[in-house]
Amino acid sequence: MDRIKEISIIRDGLPSKVWYLAWNPQGTLLASCGDDKSIQIWKQVDVVNDVDDQQQQQWVMAAKLDVHEKTVRRIAWSPDGKLIAAASFDASTSIWELSDDMNDNENNNNDSLEFNHISTLEGHQYEVKSVAWDHTGTLLATCSRDKSIWIWQMDEEKEFECLSISHGHGQDIKCVLWHPTEEILASASYDDTIKMWQDTDGDWESINTLVGHESTVWDISFNRAGDRLVSCSDDKSVILWALVKGDHSDPSQSSSSSSSSYQWKQSQIFESSHSRTIYSVDWSKDQYERIVSTGSDDSIVLYEKEVESNNNNNNNNNNNPDTTTKYKKSYQKLNAHNSDVNCIRWCPTRAGIMASCGDDSTIRIWKII
C-alpha cells in the first residue's frame, strides 16, 4: 500500500534547484529557497478537509524576498513565526520581519504578505550553510565552510550582536540546529562528525563529538523531548543517537567541562537506507514521533516505532540507550521527485503531513496514510 500520498505540488515560481524549505511554526506558511538567490513564501489557500482526500491543497506565492547575491541555502523561522533568517552562499545571513500589517492583509483576503529586510549578518569567510534560532528566539546560530560557528544575540530592538565564534570542526559545517528546550547547539559537518556546543564562560565550546558516520553528515533532527537525535549522511546511513546522562565511564571526557555528564551514544543505525547520499532527515514532534529521510536517490523513507514488546526491560535503568524505543524502516516511496530531494520537513501542526523539495524545481506536500 502506498503510505505516502502526494496531496499537493508547487511548480511555478520556484528556483530550478530548491535547496530547502521550512514551515512556519503555525504550519500555515512554507518558506523555500534555492539557486535563484531568493526566498519564496507560500501560503495555503484552500483549507483542506482532511476527511476526504479528494480535495487538493492549493499553495500560492505570498512573497518573494530578494537580497542575496548567490544561492540561498537554508532558511529558519523564529519560534514566533515573525522572523525569517536566510543563510546564503554569498557569505551573509539576512533577517526578514513579517510586516505587522499581515493580520489586516489576511482579513482582507489578500494573499500577499510583506516582509521587511531588517538586518544582514556578515563575517563568515565563505558560504553560510545553515542558520537556526534557539527556542527562545533570541539566539541565532550560523555555520559556514569556513569551519566556524557564530552565535548571534538579538536584542529587543532586533539588533544583532555576535556572542561567540567557535571552532572545532575540521571541515565545512553543513548544518546547525538548536536543542528544542535547552541552550545546546548541535552541528553536522563534512568532517563526518556531529558536535554539541554549550556556553562555557561566554565562549561556546564543543562538549560532545558524535562519531559514527563514515562521510559528510548532511542533516540532523532532535526528537521532541530532546533526548534523541537522528542524523543522515553521504555514507547512505541514518543513525539514531540517544542522550545518556551522568555517564562518567569515559575517562577522556571526565577532565573537560561539567557538561561532560551528557553523553550521546549511537542507539540504532540504518545502513544503506537509501541508495545514494541522504540529504535530509526530520523527526516529527507529534505523538507518532515518526522519522523521515530523503536524498539523492529521489526517494522518501519512513521510519516508525517498532511495536513495543518490552517486558523484561521495563525496570531497567533508562541510561542504556539500547532500551530506548527501536525504530523500523516502514516504507519507502520511490521516485518521490524527478531528481535529488534536498529537504523534507514535517508540518509542525498537522500530524502526518510533510513537505519536500528538490532539484526537479518542485515542492511536494505529502500525507502519511
Binding site: E122, D146, Q153, C162, H167, G202
Partner: protein
Amino acid sequence: MAEKFSSVLKLTELDDFITPSQECIKPVIIDKKNTSTQFTIESDGSYVETTSDGEKVQMEKATITLNDCLACSGCITSAESVLISAQSTVEFSNVLKSIAESKPDSIVVVSISPQSRASLANHFGIDSMQLHRKLVTFLKSIGVNHVFDTSFSREFALIESAEEFIARYKQTYDKPLPMLASACPGWICYAEKTHGDYVLPYISTTKSPQQIMGTLVKYYLSKKINTLPSNIYHVTIMPCYDKKLEASRSDFYNDVFKTKDVDCVLSTSEVLELLKEHGDVDLLKLEEATLDNSIFNNVIFNQQTGQPEKFLGVTGSTGGYFEYLFRRAAKELFGKEIEGEIEYKVGRNTDFKEASLEVDGKKVLSFAKAYGFRNIQNIVRKIKTTTASSSKKEPQYHFVEVMACPSGCINGGGQIKAASGSLREQKLLIEQSEQKYYQDLSIQSYEQLPSTLEIKDIYDQWMNGPFSLDAKTKLHTQYHMIEKSKNALSIKW
C-alpha cells in the same frame, strides 16, 4: 606554530596547514619558452630542466616572501615557513655570527616590549627590573650593542594617537570617527584582507610602538651614532607573532638604504629558545647589568646609588591607548579632568568595555575596548550599519581600542604559555603577567607625557613637534586593501 598567531589571523583560513610548495599558488609569470622542454627529477630530488638544445639547467626553487603572503588574500599560514627563515632565533644568531666575523661596523639593537618583559619575569619568578637587567647581560654577551624598551617609543605612539584623535574629532584631519587603534597587527591584517575599503579610513594612521621604535632606531639613532640605517640590525621582542608580519610590511622598508625599520621580530617565548641555543644559559645566574641612560632612556635611576629603580610607563597592559586618549581628549576638548579611575561598563563579555564622558547631559566622548575576534566583528558591524544609513548619524563610539587577542597584548600569541594548556591555568598566567607588568613601574599620568626631556627633544628637534607635517611623515603610516584572489586555481571551494 600557527597557533601562536592571533585568533583573528587563524580565522582567516589560518588553520589550514600548508607550505608554499604544496598549495600556495603565488601567481608566477609563465615563461612560455619553457613549455617545450623536458623536466626531470634527479636522484637527489632536484628538478632539472633540459632545454631544446639539450642543455641541462637546474631549476630554481620558487620562493615566496612574507611580502607575497601579505599581499595575497589567500592564506596566511604559508607565511609560517617563510617566517621561520626570515625572523627566527636561528636567523638572529646567524646575523650575530656574521657581524662578529666580518662586519665590525654593524650595530645590533634589541628593543624589548614591556609585555614580553612581564611574561618573562613571571616565567623566571623574579622582579621585572631584575629580569630586564639580566636579559641585558645575556643579550650583550651574544653581541648586542644596545637594549631599549618599546615603552619609550610607545609614548610617541600615544601622543601621536591623541593628537590624531583630537584632530579627527575637530574635523581638522581628513579622517572619520570612530578612530580605531592601529597597534595590533593581527587586526590590521584582518581589516586589510576582509574589510578593506570601508574600515581602513577609520584605523588610526599612527604607527605601532614597534614601528616607531624602528623609525627612531634606524633614522634618529643612526644619525646620532653616525652610521647608516642599514648598518643597524634591529631586533624587537614582542608578545605577538603577528608583529613579524607587521615588520615585514613594505611600508616599513626603505628602498634607498635597503633596510627594514625592524629587521627581526622574536616572540617572548623565542627568548627562551635563544637562551637555549646559546649554550643553555641559566638566566637567573647572570649578573644584573648596569643600564645605559644616555639614549632612549626609559628608566628612573636612584639619585644616590645610581642604580636603576623603575621603568617609566603607563596604565594598561595593552598599550594604554584608551586611558591616555580618553583623559587627554576630555581635558583638551572639553576642559574636563577625569577624576580617579575610569568607570568602565563591561559589555556582554569581559573583553568589551566602554566608558563615556557627558557634558551638560550630552554624551560627548564615547570610548570602547574591543578585544578578541567576536568583539571586532561587532565593532565592524556597527561601523558598517552607521555608514550605511544615509542619515549623518553621530558615531556610536569615538575611539575603539581594537585588539585581536582576548585580554589584549599581555595574552599575546607569542607569550609564554601555561604548561598544562588548561584554560584556568592560562587565565591565572595572564593575571600574574598583568601584575608583573605593573611591577617596578612608575606610572605616568597623561599630563606627565612626554615623560622625559629626551622625548621632548626628539619631538622638537627632529620632528617640529607632535602631529607636525614631519611627525606625520615619520610616525604615521597607511593601509592597503587587499583584493580577493581571482585565480581560479588558487581558490579553495
